[in-house]
C-alpha cells in the first residue's frame, strides 16, 4: 500500500533504532501526545527497539478518553429520547457512562448511528424533519473543522432540527498543565501530527521556550515515530529546546488556514473539564453565542449534569504520564475492554486498551499484572 508500507520498513526502522541507541547518553522521558501514536508504538512494538534509557509515557491525546463522564451521561440521556437520532463517531459508543453506554441505549431501542463525518448528520436531519438529529462533537483540533463546518452549514441552510453536543479539547493547554505540574516527568514531547496539520505549530514555540522542553511534531507510522524520537533525543542530548517538524509531508508552520477560519467562526475558547484530570482553563472549544441555537446541552436541558468517577480508575494519572496502565490495580481485573471502568480501556487510542490488547500476555508472563 503506497504511502504507508514505506513507513513500516524493517530495515529503515532498525537503522533509526541504531541511530537512537548511538546518540543516547542519558536517561530521558518522552511523551507522545496522541493516542494514535500510543497505539502505533504498542502495536508495532516500537518501544522494544529503544535503549533502556528512553522511556515513553503516554499522553492525554485520546478524545474518547478525556471526554468527561457527565458528558457521556448527557449523550446517553439525549440518545434515549424517542424523538432523537443520535449520531457519533464509532468509538464513543462503548465509553461507559455512570450507568450505561450508547450501545446499551441502542439495545434499548434508541436510534444511535455511527457516522464518519458530521456532514452526514446534516443530511440525516434534512431527511428526517420530524426528528431531532444530534451529533456528538468530540475531539481535538483535528475534528473541530468538520464540526464547525456542519454547524456553519446548518445555520446557512436554516436546518432547525440539528444540534451538536460539544466537548472539544485543545492540545497546547493540556501540555502546559502537564509541564506546570509539580510531579511532571516529561522532558520532551512528540506533538500530534494531525493536530498540527490543522493548527500548524507556531503555538508550541512559547511552550518550548517557557518550559525549556523540545517539541517534535511527529506522524503516526513507525518510521515517523522513530524519527521523531531520534530528533527529540538529539535535542535533549545537545541541550536544545526547539520546535521541530518531523511530519513535513503533512504539516506546515501555519497549518490549514481555511480550517482554522471555520473553527474561529463557530467556536470560542472555553474552560473544559478533562476526564481523569479535571478542569483546565481555556482548554476547550464551545459554540459561540451566535450559534447557541445548535447547542444540544441547551436544547435538551442537560447542562447541569454532574457525575462521579469510579474510585478505582487511575486514568488521570495515566494520561499525565505518571503511571503505566498495568500499574493500576483494576487493570485486567475489574477493568477490561468488555467492562471498562474508564475510557482509556475503551477507545482504540486509549493507553489501557492498547496495553490490554497487545501486552497483557507478556505482562502476565513477567508477573506484572
Amino acid at each position: 500500500m503506497k504511502f504507508a508500507t514505506e513507513y513500516r520498513d524493517e530495515h529503515a526502522a532498525q537503522t533509526y533504532a541504531r541511530e537512537i541507541r548511538r546518540i543516547t547518553r542519558h536517561p530521558w522521558t518522552l511523551m507522545e501526545i496522541c493516542g494514535g501514536q500510543t497505539h502505533a508504538i504498542v502495536k508495532f512494538g516500537i518501544d522494544e527497539l529503544l535503549p533502556k534509557e528512553i522511556e515513553l509515557v503516554h499522553g492525554p491525546g485520546c478524545p474518547v478518553c478525556v471526554t468527561p463522564l457527565e458528558l457521556i451521561d448527557k449523550a446517553v440521556t439525549i440518545a434515549g429520547r424517542k424523538d432523537v437520532i443520535f449520531c457519533s463517531f464509532g468509538d464513543m459508543l462503548r465509553v461507559p457512562g455512570s450507568e450505561v453506554d450508547l450501545f446499551g441505549i441502542k439495545a434499548r431501542g434508541g436510534d444511535v448511528r455511527i457516522l464518519y463525518t458530521p456532514l452526514d448528520a446534516l443530511k440525516i436531519a434534512k431527511e428526517n424533519s420530524t426528528k431531532e438529529v444530534v451529533f456528538f462533537a468530540v475531539g481535538f483540533e483535528t475534528t473541530a473543522p468538520a464540526h464547525a463546518m456542519a454547524v456553519y452549514q446548518a445555520k446557512q441552510q436554516g436546518i432547525k432540527n440539528f444540534s451538536v453536543l460539544v466537548s472539544h479539547v485543545l492540545v497546547p493547554p493540556a501540555m502546559e498543565a502537564i509541564l506546570g505540574s509539580e510531579t511532571n516527568r516529561v522532558q520532551g514531547f512528540l506533538a500530534a501530527g494531525h493536530v498540527c496539520a490543522i493548527m500548524g505549530y507556531d503555538e508550541y514555540l512559547p511552550i518550548a521556550e517557557k518550559y525549556k522542553v523540545p517539541i517534535v511534531v511527529t506522524g503516526f507510522e513507525p518510521l515517523d515515530i522513530l524519527q521523531g524520537i531520534a530528533m527529540c533525543v538529539a535535542q535533549l542530548e545537545d541541550g536544545r529546546h526547539e520546535v521541530e517538524n518531523q511530519y513535513t509531508r503533512a504539516v506546515t508552520e501555519a497549518g490549514n488556514r481555511p480550517a482554522q477560519h471555520y473553527i474561529q467562526e463557530v467556536f470560542q475558547v472555553v474552560n473544559r473539564k478533562w476526564r481523569g484530570i479535571g478542569e483546565i482553563a481555556s482548554s476547550g472549544l464551545g459554540l459561540r453565542p451566535e450559534f447557541a441555537e445548535f447547542d444540544a446541552e441547551k436544547r435538551f436541558d442537560v447542562a447541569g449534569y454532574t457525575a462521579e468517577e469510579s474510585p478505582l480508575c487511575i486514568s488521570g494519572l495515566i494520561m499525565q504520564g505518571l503511571k503505566k496502565p498495568h500499574e493500576c490495580s483494576a487493570f485486567g481485573k475489574q477493568c477490561t475492554p468488555e467492562k471498562p471502568l474508564g475510557a482509556p480501556m475503551v477507545s482504540n487510542e486509549g493507553a489501557c486498551a492498547a496495553y490490554y490488547r497487545y501486552r497483557r500476555a507478556e505482562l502476565a508472563e513477567a508477573g506484572k499484572v
Binding site: 513500516r8 512494538g45 478524545p63 464509532g90 441502542k106 439495545a107 464518519y116 475534528t143 475492554p337 497483557r360
Partner: protein, 351 residues
C-alpha cells in the same frame, strides 16, 4: 446461618455483565464467546456441542456425517461480490467443509418481512439456487414465515446442512501439532470492507468485492491429494485474528504468524487505514485457515493454488511448540506482539 430465602429454585441468569443483549454479543468476539460458554454450553451439555467445531460430527447408520446450521441477517441484502442468498449457501457449505465433510443436502428457512418486494425475494431465491449449483449441493427442505412490517429486516435466512465424511482423518483443533504450518486460502478482509463500503456509501477507486465463495471444492481437492490435513477453520465475522486465537486456545498451542506474509489486497489495507480498522479482524465469507505438517506445506499450497476460490493461498505462520494458547505476530518492523481477541465489533475511530 443462611435462611431459606438464600436459595432459589430457578437457575440464575448466568450472565451478569449486561442485562440485555447488545450487538457486541453477536460480533464474533469475546462477548459472544462468553455467551456461548456461560449460557449455551452449560444448558445443553453435549460432547458434540462442546467440541465447538463448525459442525457436529457423528456416526449414523454406518455413515460418518457432519451437521451444521447458521443464520444470515446481513444488511444490505445485496453487496458487491454477493448477497444474502449466496452467503446462506456458502456459509453452511463451508462449515461442513471445515469438518472435512462433502456437503450434500441443505435446508433453508426464510423469515420475510411484510412488504418485501416480490422482486427482491425472487433475486434472493435465484441467488440461493445459483450458489447451491456452484457448490454442488441440493436444497431439499425448507420453511417460510412472514413477520409484521418493522419486526424484521427484509429477509432473514437460516440454512442447515448435512455432509458425508469419507476419510479417516480427524480434522479438528485436537489434531494440531507443534511444527504444523498454517496457511490461509486467500487475501483477507474483503467481505468486511465490501459490506462496510456499501452500508456507509463509501467509494474507492475500484469496487471491493466480497470474498464470498464455497470452499468445498478446495477441501475435497486437499483430501483427494491424500494430504494429512490436521485442522480447517473458515474465517467469518471475527476475521483471521480471532480464528487463530480460537485454535490456539482450543489446543493450548502457540501460533506465530508473520504480518508481511498475510495476503491483504492494497485497496483493502487502504480502506482499513482510512477507517481505522485492522484487516486481521475483518469479516471473510470465503476464506479458511489450514493446518498441515511442515513436510506437506508445499504440496498443500500447490493444491490450493490450483483449486477454485483458493488461488491466492499463502503460508502465514506455524505452530511453535510453545504452550500457552496465544497467537503472536512478527510485525513489519521486526518486533513481535500478541494478537488479542476483540471484545465485539471493530469500531471506526474518531481521527
Amino acid at each position: 446461618m443462611s435462611s431459606i430465602k438464600d436459595f432459589t429454585l430457578a437457575c440464575p441468569v448466568p450472565i451478569s455483565d449486561y442485562p440485555t443483549v447488545t450487538l457486541a454479543h453477536g460480533g464474533g468476539g469475546k462477548l459472544m464467546h462468553q455467551l456461548i460458554e456461560r449460557m449455551i454450553l452449560p444448558a445443553f451439555q453435549s460432547p458434540l456441542l462442546e467440541a465447538r467445531h463448525d459442525g457436529a460430527v457423528f456416526d449414523l447408520g454406518g455413515a460418518r456425517l457432519a451437521f451444521t446450521t447458521d443464520s444470515y441477517v446481513v444488511n444490505p441484502l445485496f453487496f458487491p461480490g454477493g448477497d444474502i442468498g449466496s452467503l446462506a449457501i456458502n456459509g453452511t457449505v463451508n462449515d461442513l467443509s471445515m469438518c472435512g465433510a462433502k456437503p450434500m443436502y441443505l435446508s433453508c428457512g426464510l423469515i420475510l418481512e411484510e412488504g418485501l418486494p416480490m422482486e427482491t425475494l425472487w433475486a434472493v431465491v435465484q441467488s440461493l439456487k445459483q450458489a447451491a449449483e456452484a457448490a454442488g449441493v441440493q436444497l431439499v427442505t425448507g420453511d417460510t414465515k412472514v413477520v409484521d412490517r418493522g419486526k424484521g429486516d427484509e429477509v432473514f435466512i437460516n440454512t442447515a446442512g448435512v455432509g458425508l465424511i469419507e476419510h479417516g482423518l480427524t480434522i479438528a483443533p485436537s489434531s494440531v501439532k507443534p511444527g504444523d504450518v498454517v496457511l490461509v486460502s486467500g487475501d483477507v478482509g474483503r467481505h468486511g470492507i465490501a459490506i462496510m463500503a456499501t452500508r456507509q456509501g463509501l467509494e474507492f477507486e475500484s469496487k471491493i468485492e466480497s470474498d464470498c465463495a464455497p470452499l468445498n471444492h478446495a477441501v475435497q481437492a486437499l483430501l483427494a491429494a491424500k494430504l494429512d490435513v490436521h485442522c480447517l477453520r473458515d474465517l467469518t465475522r471475527g476475521g483471521l485474528g480471532t480464528t487463530l486465537i480460537e485454535i490456539a486456545e482450543a489446543t493450548n498451542q502457540q501460533i506465530l504468524i508473520e504480518e508481511t506474509k498475510i495476503p491483504v489486497r492494497d485497496d483493502v489495507s487502504g480502506a482499513c487505514e482510512v477507517l481505522g480498522f485492522d484487516p486481521l479482524y475483518l469479516a471473510n465469507e470465503g476464506r479458511m485457515i489450514i493446518f498441515v505438517p511442515e513436510a506437506e506445506a508445499g504440496k498443500t499450497l500447490e493444491v490450493l493454488q490450483h483449486s477454485p476460490y483458493t488461488e491466492g493461498a499463502a503460508v502465514i505462520g506455524r505452530v511453535t511448540g510453545d504452550k500457552g494458547g496465544v497467537v503472536k505476530m512478527k510485525s513489519r518492523i521486526g518486533t513481535t506482539r500478541i494478537i488479542d481477541m476483540l471484545s465485539g465489533e471493530q469500531l471506526p475511530r474518531i481521527c
